[in-house]
């Protein structure tokens, strides 16, 4: 399959990218690793007139920096770099764990975290992880604008990024060393998009749950936080009955569509099952007793 003809722009600076975008708006698309955009172009679901290649800016947009109160990840960092990052394995293990389940080895070698969140497929993995971690996205248009994950993912393939903005950085608040986490992705076959994916974080406090964050993806038009469930968990000593209630609350928020990956009813069921498994795993990793 051959994409529709397009013209090519190779920027030397971020300002040139923004200048080009301001001039051509929706007619121009930025290309990072290309593992969302190229398949769309080959299927002719996307046919931009102009492609801006971000690769020449790799040096300035590809970094993982841990320091102060946050972890900062450049938009051009590839999934595989996160998967194999020793510092992230120590600092925020949910990131390498989630990266490992994206696509396959070859896809992870090329695809970028910035490209994935900017593309914002409702069945992709990073948006769910980012929402659970309260990530903040830096958008550049000559000046910087910061958008929290809760306001970034608007709908299927739709984010807060304006046509003249470029996503440059993802900032994730650091968590205390002792935290429980879990990444659960249910896929129909190896390397598939998720049927449901769940990110859970638990901050323990004196044998209780200090706070909890649960994000669910693929069963709604955008990833969502299990707000009611998180409220129930706050300050609680976890037990299986509570876990069950939180999982039920997560499933009741889902609005899945029936497709090849299952009926809406089935997906609602696996949402409950996977939230339960994720929550139990995170509670155990937080070294809390589950009664």
């Amino acid at each position: 399959m051959i994409p529709k003809s397009f013209e090519y722009f190779e920027p030397k600076t971020l300002s040139e990218v923004v200048g080009f975008l301001k001039k051509h708006k929706e007619n121009a698309k930025v290309l990072a690793g290309g593992h969302s955009l190229i398949p769309m172009m080959k299927l002719r679901l996307a046919a931009p007139q102009y492609i801006i290649n971000l690769e020449p800016l790799r040096k300035s947009l590809s970094y993982i920096k841990v320091g102060g109160k946050s972890i900062r990840i450049g938009a051009l960092v590839r999934h595989a770099e996160i998967e194999h990052s020793q510092i992230l394995k120590r600092e925020l293990p949910i990131l390498p764990a989630a990266a490992e389940w994206i696509g396959d080895m070859q896809v992870r070698n090329m695809g970028t975290i910035g490209g994935s969140v900017a593309h914002s497929d409702p069945a992709s993995d990073w948006p769910v992880v980012m929402l659970s971690l309260n990530a903040v996205f830096t958008l550049y248009s000559g000046k910087k604008r910061k958008v929290p994950a809760s306001k970034f993912f608007i709908g299927p393939f739709t984010t807060a990024i304006k046509p003249y903005e470029v996503l440059t950085e993802i900032e994730i608040p650091r968590l205390p060393k002792r935290h429980g986490w879990s990444w659960k992705k249910f896929e129909r076959k190896a390397g598939d998009f998720a049927t449901v994916n769940v990110a859970t974080l638990i901050l323990p406090k004196d044998g209780h749950i200090g706070s909890a964050s649960i994000a669910v993806g693929s069963v709604h038009y955008r990833p969502y936080r299990v707000t009611e469930g998180e409220r129930l968990l706050k300050g609680a000593k976890p037990d299986l009955e509570l876990v069950e209630r939180v999982a039920e609350s997560a499933a009741s928020m889902a609005e899945p569509t029936s497709d090849l990956r299952g009926s809406a009813e089935y997906k609602r069921h696996v949402t409950k099952v996977f939230v339960k498994r994720s929550l139990i795993e995170a509670i155990e990793r937080a070294n809390l007793n589950l009664r």
């Binding site: 593992h35 190229i38 080895m105 090329m110």
Partner: protein, 184 residues
């Protein structure tokens, strides 16, 4: 080699190109070509350079038959990538290794030999991509467990073998490469 044409700029002032000069090193040989922006790397390798060892299977980044190795993707090492989901211009300035570049001085690469000895192929269509993916895996993880091999080649489909002999072949090649200190 295709003749080099002058680069045409499109509409006045747009600074966009509809032909891109690229320099690529494939299996140790440098090529300079002018390509259309929409030319995919797999088509560049097969149709422009005549290297038809890399195959087009699904053409949707699922099957891995088009897998080649590339330098400077991340972390400095050779990395396996799917050349059907890759524009030729993205390879500009990069080094590529295809199945044609594996054998040295008429001697098969340990992975090629192992696929032969362990009957790791039947129709052979997936084999070039399978071997390049396996090499990409072994460069990241020289002593993988069987489980890690299975996961490592999950981006490559084979419709003949049932994978068992492919996994045996990769396992055997990993051991030989480690013992002999073979890198690529």
């Amino acid at each position: 080699m295709a003749r080099r044409k002058s680069v045409r700029k499109t509409k006045a002032g747009s600074n966009a190109l509809n032909e891109i000069p690229i320099t690529v090193r494939v299996n140790g040989v440098e090529y300079k070509n002018t390509v259309q922006p929409r030319l995919l790397l797999i088509h560049y390798l097969r149709d422009v350079l005549g290297l038809t060892g890399s195959h087009i299977g699904c053409d949707t980044s699922n099957c891995g038959a088009c897998t080649v190795l590339m330098k400077d993707v991340w972390g400095g090492e050779w990395r396996a990538v799917k050349s059907c989901t890759f524009y030729a211009f993205q390879a500009n300035g990069k080094e590529i290794l295809t199945i044609e570049g594996l054998a040295r001085d008429g001697e098969l690469h340990p992975l090629q030999k192992a696929f032969w000895e362990h009957h790791g192929l039947q129709c052979g269509y997936c084999t070039p991509g399978m071997i390049m993916a396996a090499l990409g895996l072994l460069l990241m993880n020289p002593n993988p467990t069987v489980e890690e091999i299975r996961k490592g080649i999950s981006g490559n489909l084979c419709r003949c073998t049932g994978y068992i002999n492919i996994i045996k072949a990769i396992d055997a090649a990993a051991k030989e490469m480690s013992a002999k200190g073979v890198k690529v």
